[in-house]
Symmetry: C2
Subunit: 200 residues, 2 copies
């Protein structure tokens, strides 16, 4: 199981790290021992809107070599959705098993064509911006449409991470991770268009 985290300037870091934390627990707890990931971008480092700078592992790798690509959101997505260089690179991930976005990361996977004929969600302030890229907007926290999985605003990153844990390792082990994180959300809605099977 090899994950590509897609990072870029003006990212919202909690979109990324809220998802990254439960996922990396699958490795530390030995639930998926061969779990690996790369931080991927179009350049050597990326910065959030306040200058927090992260060093990248792989510059524009061929994303078809991964099992999952994860695209966080942030103000940077507003311009990046129209950046051909970035979107063409993202398209190399078209056939991976899991395509995942958090918040306005949906605009990027949308621009890459991954939401065509899909139901999807995004930040509750950006439903209108996503409409052009997908078949239908669902105003729910998480949508799973044949392993193309989208989530809402920033705090849903943790819920989405735990949802992916449950898909990969089952509910009991996911619960062990959630309790270890001391994370106790109120109940929320997940729309499952199709939970299992390949992306199509």
């Amino acid at each position: 199981m090899k994950i590509a985290y897609i990072l870029f300037d003006e990212i919202t870091l909690l979109d990324f790290i809220g998802f990254y934390d439960p996922l990396k627990n699958m490795k530390t707890k030995g639930f998926i021992e061969n779990l690996t990931w790369d931080l991927c971008a179009t350049k050597k480092t990326i910065k959030d809107s306040f200058g927090l700078e992260i060093i990248i592992d792989k510059i524009k790798p061929d994303l078809s070599n991964y099992d999952m690509i994860v695209v966080p959101g942030g103000y940077g997505t507003r311009k990046l959705q129209y950046d051909t260089n970035f979107i063409d690179w993202l398209k190399t991930g078209e056939k991976v098993n899991y395509i995942v976005s958090i918040c306005t990361g949906s605009l990027l996977i949308g621009a890459a064509g991954f939401l065509k004929n899909k139901t999807a969600t995004t930040n509750f302030n950006e439903y209108g911006s996503l409409e052009k890229y997908c078949k239908k907007i669902a105003r729910t926290r998480i949508v799973d449409d044949h392993n193309t999985i989208t989530a809402g605003a920033v705090a849903s990153s943790i819920d989405l991470g735990l949802y992916i844990c449950e898909k990969l390792i089952g509910k009991e082990k996911k619960e062990e991770i959630r309790i270890g994180m001391d994370y106790h959300p109120k109940e929320f809605e997940i729309l499952t268009v199709a939970k299992n099977g390949c992306r199509k």
Copy 2:
């Protein structure tokens, strides 16, 4: 309002970023316009346990120049609490207005002597490790003892960030931030030994 984020190798990044997100919203929403922060460490970059590398703004700055120091947790704290070079640097923050830790960051502020005669909390698996540094362990999610403020395991970082927002800008603006983040936790306990007043 100037914050020092204290970073180190083998940090748990969600401890840091879960707190950082609501705080930076106070700036973007214009609630505290002169809010600034530095990422501080004893060296130029730091890495989490999986190699995720962040570039540092200030190497060992005099922490007495800040209004708040924020110390996340992570496996690195287990060794770092006995590292004289690191702890002596942390002690330069002794007189700041707010000393804040998340999860096992409490072991570091404890080793610096900041929890002497204080009630404090930490990761629920590490209550025993914190005992030697404080007057009393409180098994609650957040403890505020005269502006020395500690929190529980990793997901409490967001709750603590929002708690600090409420202290600084009031409940209504904090709620605007929480709702913008789409964050909906179940109710939890906050122990307030003394909410206002200077650290003592």
